[in-house]
């Protein structure tokens, strides 16, 4: 029997498509060189010195780049990640503070400066380990190398549910533990006692025998001169008192009284506000625009033409957007005027029908196993918009040869480097000041942040600071969407209701192999990617590829169960390895949801099981169809095995939000194209789930199997669409194969 779990599957052959792949970018560079634990502290000394000086400029003593202890016992943790509300900064602080034995009420977290010295080493190191499943490869390589390379690569990215499981476990826990040892060593010398007689608690080193204690603040100066142990022993989880606690998130108080400052809230004296419209057909250029109607609007100061966009600069947002709306710019279509939602699906279907795959993964002789009459089903999903609530907004000011930019992005360092490229300035002359982010879900990743280039171009030609705000209309029309994708699935069954062969042919821009895991153990499986690229920019949308792949596989497994005449939970069980985590999660959700118990007429239950980012989530949804044809979700039961979790309540919030985002996209969301341009214009025609549609009962349970820590920000999303579609089939006998459900309800 072939096993198709992530670690054992054959790697996909590289796709034929050119260009930088999301993960290949990370792995490609890191794989060559190896790993390092402690940021710059053991890398080159110049970078170390300048970073240390920078952190200590307002007092305190710095340890391994990421931590500073003040003489007053204050503890400052520098996070290389962007907390977008997922609580990652609080979680990272919990991990470091736990190993440091810090007094929690003295801990604060700030964003690490967007400078190469603060590149995210833990991320680079662990990405390699995660993707290859062979951490031994990197363990023998000199530590200093990866620091250097990560800085060359400008990694300061938040994504892939990586903050805690990589940066936290690889870097922050070790930094906390090593710093604690340095504090103990310093205290032992000062108290003239053996180090092993000392204990630590609440930011004190304690010598119980003599009843003496020293504050971390009074030890920090000397301890900071010691070199840190690069393989300190970490605590046993039974000793935890900060980790695994539902500690209140540090960022929340400022988010209830209006004091939190997001990128869009930034302001400096003499600042102007700009807004922009890019070519509606992506790939087009600005061909002409009469600027007079905008300049006639009171408060408008300038109309700036960019290669593919027109921007209006004014005293405020209202005159800027009024000026922009007064314009009738003409754009070319870049030869993309014939592209539509229908034409993309047709092209994708043609590619799959032709059968010339760009990459293939899996195992076994699928062709033979499928036989002459396999069971077949075709599925389609649309482009999805991220709909982060804070539209893109960056402020930039070019003065005396220096460019400063303020705002919120998922990779501050890459933001800076992009501004360096566009401005032609030296890296030393460009500073990016990271601010709080009003949602992202993958939209603010460095690969798609065209606003950085736009605001840089504006600032370089304006004598005053300028804040560029995208309208919601621009945000909807110029997305980095979850790809529109189609799939054709085939499988054959034995008389004993067992799958003999399973094929998943899917068409979209990139292979989904890096992100998705097929959990079932079957004799023969094939996953074939057919690369189709439209004119639209596609990217990471919360849970990256796992939403569409989860929908395809878990819908089809349901269809196969019904074809076999077997209960969908039992059918899945029979194709999972005995004793596996997947099986345990599935059994748990069946038990907790009351699977198999009677339901009112017209209501059905559906199940789905999806692993993404090393976290396994199983879900049972109870749903019916209302008189208006719209699905009504009554109850969602979810079981999560993320291995272990750092902050249970924050993890719970991520799963809740993930389920709601999954339901929202399954029920109502779609970006569609006509004549090469996006048809939706704002949130009025891109319906997002609201309070009234959110199920009243959402039971969420964590199993905490102790396996390696999985992600928590993304894995909550994928099961909702297939679990709902399967529930609707159980309720109505009608199979949903195209999303969103709303479109079919109306049809």
């Amino acid at each position: 029997m072939a096993d198709n779990t992530a670690t054992e599957a054959q790697p996909a052959t590289p796709t034929k498509r050119k260009g930088v792949k999301r993960r290949a970018f990370l792995i490609g560079g890191v794989a060559v060189v190896g790993a390092g634990l402690f940021g710059i502290s053991i890398a080159d000394s110049n970078a170390a010195k300048s970073a240390k000086a920078r952190l200590e400029s307002d007092g305190g003593h710095s340890f391994a780049t990421w931590l500073k202890i003040g003489e007053d016992d204050s503890i400052t943790i520098y996070s290389p990640h962007t907390d977008i509300g997922q609580g990652s900064n609080t979680g990272l602080a919990q991990m470091l503070a736990e190993e440091l034995d810090a007094a929690w009420d003295q801990v604060r977290v700030v964003s690490a400066p967007a400078e190469p010295a603060f590149a995210n080493v833990g991320l680079g190191r662990a990405f390699l380990a995660d993707m290859t499943g062979q951490p031994a490869i990197i363990n023998g390589i000199p530590q200093s190398f990866l620091s250097f390379i990560a800085r060359q690569m400008n990694l300061q990215m938040t994504g892939g549910s990586t903050a805690l499981r990589f940066t936290g476990r690889v870097t922050f826990q070790n930094v906390g533990a090593a710093t604690r040892l340095a504090l103990i060593e310093t205290a032992a010398k000062r108290l003239d006692v053996p180090a092993d007689e000392l204990t630590t608690q609440d930011s004190h080193v304690i010598h119980a025998k003599s009843g003496r204690a020293l504050r971390y603040g009074e030890l920090a100066a000397e301890a900071a001169t010691l070199s840190l142990d690069n393989a300190p022993k970490l605590k046993d989880p039974s000793q935890y008192r900060i980790m695994r606690q539902s500690i209140q998130r540090l960022d929340i108080p400022a988010k209830v009284d209006g004091s939190a400052q997001y990128g869009i809230d930034f302001s400096v004296p003499n600042m102007r506000v700009a807004t922009i419209m890019a070519a509606p057909v992506r790939g087009g250029k600005l061909t002409s625009v009469d600027t007079a109607p905008a300049l006639a609007v009171k408060g408008v100061e300038k109309v700036i033409k960019l290669d593919d966009a027109v921007a209006v600069v004014a005293k405020g947002y209202w005159p800027a957007i009024s000026g922009l709306r007064a314009l009738t710019p003409e754009f070319s279509d870049g030869g993309n005027g014939g592209i539509s939602t229908a034409s993309i699906f047709k092209a994708q279907d043609d590619l799959i029908a032709k059968g010339d795959a760009d990459s293939t993964a899996g195992d076994g002789d699928v062709q033979a196993g499928l036989g002459a009459k396999p069971i077949e089903a075709e599925y389609q999903v649309p482009f999805l918009h991220h709909a982060m609530m804070e539209p893109f907004a960056l402020t930039a000011y070019f003065k005396d040869g220096k460019l400063n930019i303020w705002g919120g992005m998922q990779d501050p360092l890459a933001t800076k480097m992009m501004a360096v490229d566009v401005s032609g300035l030296d890296a030393d002359d460009v500073t990016f000041h990271p601010m709080m982010i009003g949602g992202s879900f993958g939209r603010r990743l460095p690969m798609y942040m065209e606003i950085v280039g736009q605001v840089t171009k504006l600032a370089m030609q304006l004598p005053y600071p300028v804040k560029l705000i995208w309208s919601r209309e621009e945000e909807v029309a110029q997305g980095a969407y979850r790809p529109q994708s189609s799939a054709a699935l085939k499988a054959s069954l034995t008389k004993e209701k067992r799958i003999t062969a399973y094929r998943n042919d899917y068409a979209q821009p990139e292979s989904a192999e890096s992100e998705t895991v097929f959990p079932y153990t079957l004799p023969a499986v094939s996953r074939r990617h057919f690369a189709h690229v439209s004119n639209q920019q596609t990217g990471a949308w919360r849970s990256v590829n796992s939403t569409q792949q989860g929908f395809y596989n878990e819908s089809f497994m349901d269809e196969l169960a019904h074809a076999a005449g077997e209960d969908p939970v039992v059918f899945r069980r029979n194709h999972l390895k005995a004793g596996s985590r997947h099986l345990r999660v599935l059994d748990e959700v069946a038990a907790r949801s009351g699977w198999g118990s009677p339901l009112p007429a017209g209501t059905g239950r559906g199940v789905a099981l999806v692993e993404s980012f090393r976290t396994i989530v199983a879900q049972v949804i109870e749903a019916s169809v209302g008189e208006d044809g719209m699905p009504k979700v009554h109850k969602v039961t979810t079981v999560v095995d993320a291995g272990s979790i750092v902050n249970p309540d924050a993890a719970m919030a991520q799963i809740e939000g993930g389920i709601i985002m999954g339901l929202s996209s399954a029920i109502g969301e779609a970006i569609t194209l006509e004549n090469g341009a996006v048809q939706q214009s704002n949130l009025a025609d891109y319906p997002l789930l609201k309070m009234a549609d959110t199920p009243l009962v959402m039971d969420i349970h964590f199993l905490n199997s102790g396996a390696d820590m999985g992600g928590i920000g993304e894995p909550g999303v994928p099961p909702a669409a297939p679990a709902l579609a399967n529930a609707l089939f159980a309720a109505t006998g009608k199979r949903v194969r195209n999303l969103p459900i709303l479109t079919q309800a109306k049809a």
């Binding site: 209140q248 209006g258 939190a260 991220h386 949602g439 949130l683 609201k690 309070m691 959110t694």
Partner: protein, 174 residues
């Protein structure tokens, strides 16, 4: 001459009250209240989300009524009393009961929509006392992309002494 010009300006200005303080606004009359609050008064707790009153991130109170300020010209609020998220705290800085409930339930994720959510919730509670789930569904139409709805519901129940209901939506914490 100069003096007369200033007098005219004052006459043209729109008089209103923000968070209990009288203000004279110089914005063009068609400017949405949202942008006057954010850019002229510098109160950035009220957010821009969509500009078409679809998301509610810009919700403030106008004479106590929850109002989507992105779609109300400032000329329409002349002589009215406006409260923003910054005006919810009491004079001594104590948080409003709803703000406290928001922290207890750990409602915000990215937090961007939460000023609007809180303003909508405060208005709902003022009107209904202790709102039922159906009343919450009807009144709380603001969008939260992070999906904090179960916690918003829980916080509204908790703020109005409906502890049992507050515990219901998110049980089973590990």
């Amino acid at each position: 001459m100069k003096r007369r010009y200033e007098w005219e300006l004052i006459c043209m200005a729109i008089q209103t009250s923000i968070n209990g303080k009288p203000v004279a606004l110089s914005a063009e009359p068609d400017t949405p209240l949202l942008w006057v609050i954010r850019e002229e008064l510098g109160l950035t707790g009220t957010k821009f989300g969509c500009g078409i009153a679809a998301c509610g991130a810009c919700t403030v109170h106008v004479n106590g009524e929850p109002t989507r300020s992105c779609s109300v010209p400032v000329s329409e609020v002349a002589g009215k009393s406006i409260t923003t998220i910054e005006g919810l705290k009491s004079a001594d800085g104590t948080l409003h009961a709803v703000q406290k409930a928001w922290i207890s339930a750990q409602v915000p994720q990215c937090g961007y929509c939460q000023s609007g959510q809180i303003m909508a919730a405060v208005a709902l509670i003022k009107k209904t006392g202790s709102p039922s789930d159906a009343q919450i569904d009807e009144a709380m139409t603001n969008i939260c992309r992070c999906g904090t709805y179960p916690r918003i519901r829980k916080a509204i129940h908790a703020a109005t002494g409906q502890a049992a209901k507050a515990a219901k939506p998110a049980e089973g914490a590990a």
